[in-house]
């Protein structure tokens, strides 16, 4: 084994940028990506020509060739992509930091662009905007042949089944889910970029319609258009750039807990799942414990998975997530652990986690609209499915 944390403090997020977020912008993913990337470069105070590495999601429709032809033809020496949407959201940052620590690149672009408003369909394939699950092949050769023919077609339906079993095993309740939704909506209310800013009460949550029991409308991520980008460079160089660097202190990834699709998702205990493994590795590499973290950004595709993430990453014990989130436990003001202070994917926008990544950087800079006092250490986690990743930022 080499250095246990060979990327410790070597790279930093130096620039962030995004488009406006909306339920429908009528713009291409390509166009939105370029706007966000230029904004991130301007924020860092660099030219797009300085980019020499690109890490993207493997499902991103804007590929390297399309990008580089509009970025002043930079010289790219490193490129990579990581799996899926939620699973890639933090892993892309870990990859970028690793490339910089290994000397393979100096200035790495990470981005995600999504036209996923309900009517933002721009083609036939499921990756081409709108709701992916509404354009399903009618003959399924992949693993989704085991559940789609029975009417389980979308992520919210699949995750409803995991949520139900979690409620049985650990006593998590719909009231706990409501606390998460209400707290994130309150955060969004302070954020001018958030799509959903109307205040929400517990009663509003319980009154929202059932989507896939036990998940209600207000338990689910919103369907939006928008793009986010960040510029990651060496910590040394970041200190000379325009913004306060968000230093990448540690990173970890895990894959292989056997539930790429839901057909075998229950084959391991939750504590042996990829998110829990990522958490253990991350804290070990960081030399930190969960109680030292000032703010948490988790992949809030569904309220229930926020509670599961708090337990996966050891912020509380299994089954204690409900009492942990109660009475504003995730609030930026006086909560047990300020979480998704932008409003998250439940209320700000659903850019496959990148909007949460950007907000984590703002917390380190001290520029959030729901700023956590003296935030020095922030943990960002990808979707707690499989595969996944996570990283810790520090000032």
């Amino acid at each position: 084994m080499g250095e246990p944390n060979g990327l410790r403090d070597r790279a930093a997020i130096a620039g962030i940028g995004h488009t406006e977020f909306s339920k429908g912008l009528g713009r291409s993913e390509y166009d939105m990506a370029v706007e966000a990337i230029w904004a991130a470069c301007a924020d860092a105070g660099i030219s797009p020509r300085d980019i020499d590495g690109v890490v993207r999601y493997d499902i991103e429709t804007t590929d390297e060739e399309q990008l580089l032809s509009v970025l002043g033809n930079p010289e790219i020496g490193y490129f990579a992509s990581t799996s899926w949407g939620g699973g890639a959201s933090a892993s892309v940052v870990v990859h970028a930091a690793a490339a910089i620590a290994a000397g393979l690149a100096e200035t790495v672009l990470v981005f995600r662009s999504r036209a996923r408003g309900k009517n933002s369909v721009f083609g036939k394939g499921s990756s081409l905007g709108g709701r992916y699950w509404e354009r399903m092949d009618e003959r399924l050769p992949e693993l989704n042949q085991w559940h789609v023919p029975h009417g389980l077609v979308s992520a919210f339906q699949e995750m409803a089944m995991i949520t139900r079993r979690y409620m049985i095993d650990y006593g998590t309740t719909e009231d706990d889910f409501a606390e998460v939704a209400v707290t994130f909506r309150a955060h969004a209310g302070r954020n001018p970029h958030a799509v959903m800013r109307e205040p929400m009460t517990i009663e509003d949550h319980h009154g929202s319609r059932m989507i896939a029991e036990p998940l209600r409308l207000f338990d689910c991520n919103i369907e939006t258009d928008g793009a986010c980008a960040m510029i990651i460079t060496s910590s040394e160089r970041a200190r000379d750039l325009r913004q306060t660097p968000a230093i990448i202190h540690a990173g970890a990834m895990a894959a292989g807990s056997h539930h790429r699709w839901t057909s075998s998702m229950y084959s391991r205990s939750r504590d042996d799942d990829s998110a829990a493994r990522t958490g253990r590795r991350l804290f070990e590499r960081a030399g930190l414990t969960p109680d030292e973290i000032d703010a948490f950004f988790c992949y809030d595709f569904f309220t229930s998975f926020v509670i599961i993430a708090l337990e996966d990453y050891g912020f509380c014990r299994r089954g204690e997530g409900g009492s942990f989130v109660k009475d504003g436990g995730l609030s930026f003001e006086g909560g047990n652990l300020p979480t998704n202070t932008n409003g998250g994917q439940l209320s700000e926008a659903f850019i496959h986690g990148q909007n949460n990544n950007l907000e984590a950087v703002r917390q380190i800079r001290g520029t959030s609209t729901a700023q956590v006092a003296d935030a020095e250490l922030v943990l960002v986690a990808g979707a707690n499915t499989d595969p996944t990743g996570a990283f810790i930022l520090r000032r």
Binding site: V121, G129, G130, E134, R135, D137, E138, R165, A212, W261
Partner: protein, 151 residues
């Protein structure tokens, strides 16, 4: 863009396309048999089909006949939105069945109201032909053996 959405929306019924790995499952289902891969080295059953045992990594296996009996492990009741082909059935159940052999299998319980679905509900496989090639494996609530037959 709304019209494009309507134009490309999946309206048919999505069905499995049997592959080199999965065809034996569907051939068995067509005969009214529920078969899964079972490792002949260590005896572990597995589903979905794959070329080696997740427990002992042996590549030796058989397509073994399962009892078809199990119980509901988890479930959801689906409300809109869902694919058009399933809309007439909402609210409908989708269940994960833990079979006696230890494998999980996702399907539906037929003729069972949403409020009657629960974890631990005993169920047994039934075979529903869809076309010449595909027979879907569904479940029914296992009749309660302890109850006397009504006359």
């Amino acid at each position: 863009m709304t019209s494009l959405r309507n134009e490309v929306l999946t309206r048919g019924r999505p069905l499995p396309l049997p592959t080199l790995d999965t065809a034996p499952f569907y051939e068995a289902a067509r005969r009214g048999e529920l078969r899964f891969q079972r490792c002949t080295a260590c005896g572990t059953w597995r589903h979905y089909p794959r070329p080696a045992c997740p427990e002992c990594m042996s590549r030796d296996y058989e397509w073994a006949l399962a009892s078809g009996r199990g119980e509901v492990y988890t479930w959801t009741i689906v409300h809109p939105p869902t694919l058009p082909v399933f809309e007439a059935d909402v609210p409908y159940n989708v269940v994960d069945v833990l079979l006696e052999e230890g494998v999980h299998f996702q399907s539906q319980v037929l003729d069972c109201p949403p409020e009657a679905i629960r974890a631990g509900l005993p169920v047994e496989a039934v075979f529903v032909p869809v076309d010449e090639e595909i027979t879907l494996v569904k479940f029914r609530v296992t009749p309660d053996q302890s109850k006397p037959h009504s006359e």
